[in-house]
Subunit: 346 residues, 2 copies
């Protein structure tokens, strides 16, 4: 399942456009091919989305679902992704308004909404609630069999959560397609699933089946593609992170791309980001596990320079290359070709 | 919740006593203070449990629940733990017989049994089904706050699954208590939960909340104890393993103990166990994450020598000490004092 391309979409983004928790909605606004007709954020109605976010899509911002109805949306997507995935209390009113107005609902939060009687009662024929973060059925445990696939498997890994791993994997995927390769982007988070389908919501999978879910996904597509771009999750540096390890074990990557936000020095209060070359070593050590698995290189570094000017971005990229000896670029800003060249050389 | 100490227990262990999947039942037979009155295994009825397993508890072995009834059991525990946690088809008949005969059921497998209508229909007042592997309510994400606790936090880590991490943590806990310390064993798997309660079934927790569940457990007890012994799960070397990383991040261990089965050379088909000193480095690298977290030493090595003679065991221990430079013993065979001394010196 993915976000339908023939239905008009509204994105519920209260305090997400200017704030820090709007990752899902903003990524959809940046990347989705679906017709997004309106964004809803009570903090900034009437303001310009491109000016606030740099996203080049002209979508009006309104304060509520009622105000959004004039744009005739058919689907409401909950566009925030708070840490832990709990729905804020002040979102309920808008969600009920949307269902009462005949819209379907796409929910990427942990709490399933399709089973709540109050919401189910509002559904009329043709309306549905899609809870994206639901453990897939028929999972097993992983056996490292992705090693047997002939394709390249490129996994993005990060110094932190929310630094641009999905975007980097998407850019690598598009660059691969432009080169005429059979390329597949494999999403592992709710936003990627809304954009592309064909993946897994890894953080909703039980620990015992996490690597197995990744392996199942990679095995399903690996035989028919030249290169798989596996969306990374979390960070080996983040105190709450668990997802990186099953991604490495389940996908058995042939290369990793390290994603980092330029200038960021801590992953959380008091937890420093070590020099990038040490982070590279950490990921390579875990991937090869002292010799239990083949060596997997971090082939290049994707630098997120969104908050920098172009000159500052270029300086940060040059500095990162000097410090690490690895090719580096900002794939959102300058394209992913440099990263892809590095993948092919490894 | 834990296994009640005032009820007569039967353990369902078909193909588990001589086979490889009886870990839960055999650990209960080895360690539980509950009155276990009969074990059920159709492969070896009438045979001697001590002779088959080395466990010093004289419990009769019978072929079925019907045959077990003469020992008047009140609780049936499913004692097998197959990889992936699925109930074998040929177990259903015995489970239904037990419920029909008035017994309660303790289930450590992934599939919840308490919600199955056929089984619920058999329950009479006073009878219950305890699904041990259930995600606890009210979880959040971890923040590394266990770092602030003044107590020691000793985590067992392994070269493989099922090598003796729980047993090592239990032995360390008892040795700590004998020294007069306020010590707590914190189980993270179904067997430990049946034995001691007060823990979490980590492999049933969703990836997003895994480290948070560990942190919550450690924070709940850390202030009132001198030393916490946290039961390890999985292995950074195992292809299906995910649980070790959230255990490290959530518990913020002060020391680790590496558990290894003497003589084992592969974790799975074609995946070698590297030299132990490299495995030690791997765990220490992940725990400190290149400087993001304080250094956490692997203080000692617990060697599982169950399949060796005493002379062979002593030789293997001496060789491990020479190879790694770390203190080593088999805590089941020779007690955990040497390991505990090493924890205190670090």
């Amino acid at each position: 399942m993915r976000l339908p391309l023939n239905q008009r979409v509204a994105i519920l983004l209260h305090e997400g456009i200017k704030g820090t928790r709007g990752k899902t909605g903003l990524s959809l606004l940046r990347y989705s091919e679906a017709p997004i007709v309106v964004a809803i954020d009570r903090e900034c109605p009437g303001q310009s989305l491109p000016e606030l976010t740099g996203i080049r899509r002209h979508v009006p911002i309104v304060a509520s679902v009622s105000a959004a109805l004039e744009y005739k949306p058919q689907v409401l997507v909950i566009g925030i992704a708070p840490l832990g995935g709990v729905l804020p209390d002040d979102y309920w009113h808008d969600i009920k308004d949307a269902l009462a107005a005949g819209m379907s609902l796409v929910n990427g939060l942990h709490a399933p909404l399709s089973t709540i009687p109050d919401l189910k009662a509002l559904l009329k024929p043709g309306q549905m609630i899609w809870d994206v973060r639901k453990e897939p059925p028929n999972l097993g445990v992983a056996t490292a069999m992705a090693r047997t696939l002939p394709c390249r498997r490129v996994l993005t890994v990060g110094t932190d959560m929310a630094v641009g791993k999905m975007s980097t994997s998407l850019e690598l995927h598009w660059a691969s397609k432009l080169r005429g390769w059979r390329s597949k982007f494999l999403p592992t988070g709710q936003t990627g699933l809304m954009l592309e389908g064909d993946g897994i919501p890894l953080d909703a999978v039980r620990v015992d089946f996490a690597a197995g879910a990744v392996e199942q996904m990679v095995m399903r597509y690996g035989k028919n593609y030249d290169i798989l771009h596996i969306e990374g999750q979390g960070s080996l540096l983040h105190p709450s992170s668990t997802a990186t390890l099953p991604l490495i074990r389940g996908s058995q990557p042939t290369q990793m791309i390290l994603v980092h936000r330029a200038g960021q020095t801590e992953v959380a209060d008091g937890i420093p980001i070590p020099p990038l070359i040490d982070v590279v070593k950490l990921y390579e050590t875990v991937a090869s596990a002292g010799g239990a698995y083949p060596k997997v290189p971090v082939a290049a570094i994707a630098l997120n320079t969104r908050h920098f000017s172009e000159a500052e971005a270029k300086a940060a990229i040059a500095q990162t290359e000097t410090e690490t000896g690895l090719p580096c670029t900002d794939p959102i800003r300058f394209g992913a070709d440099k990263l892809l060249d590095a993948v092919m050389q490894n």
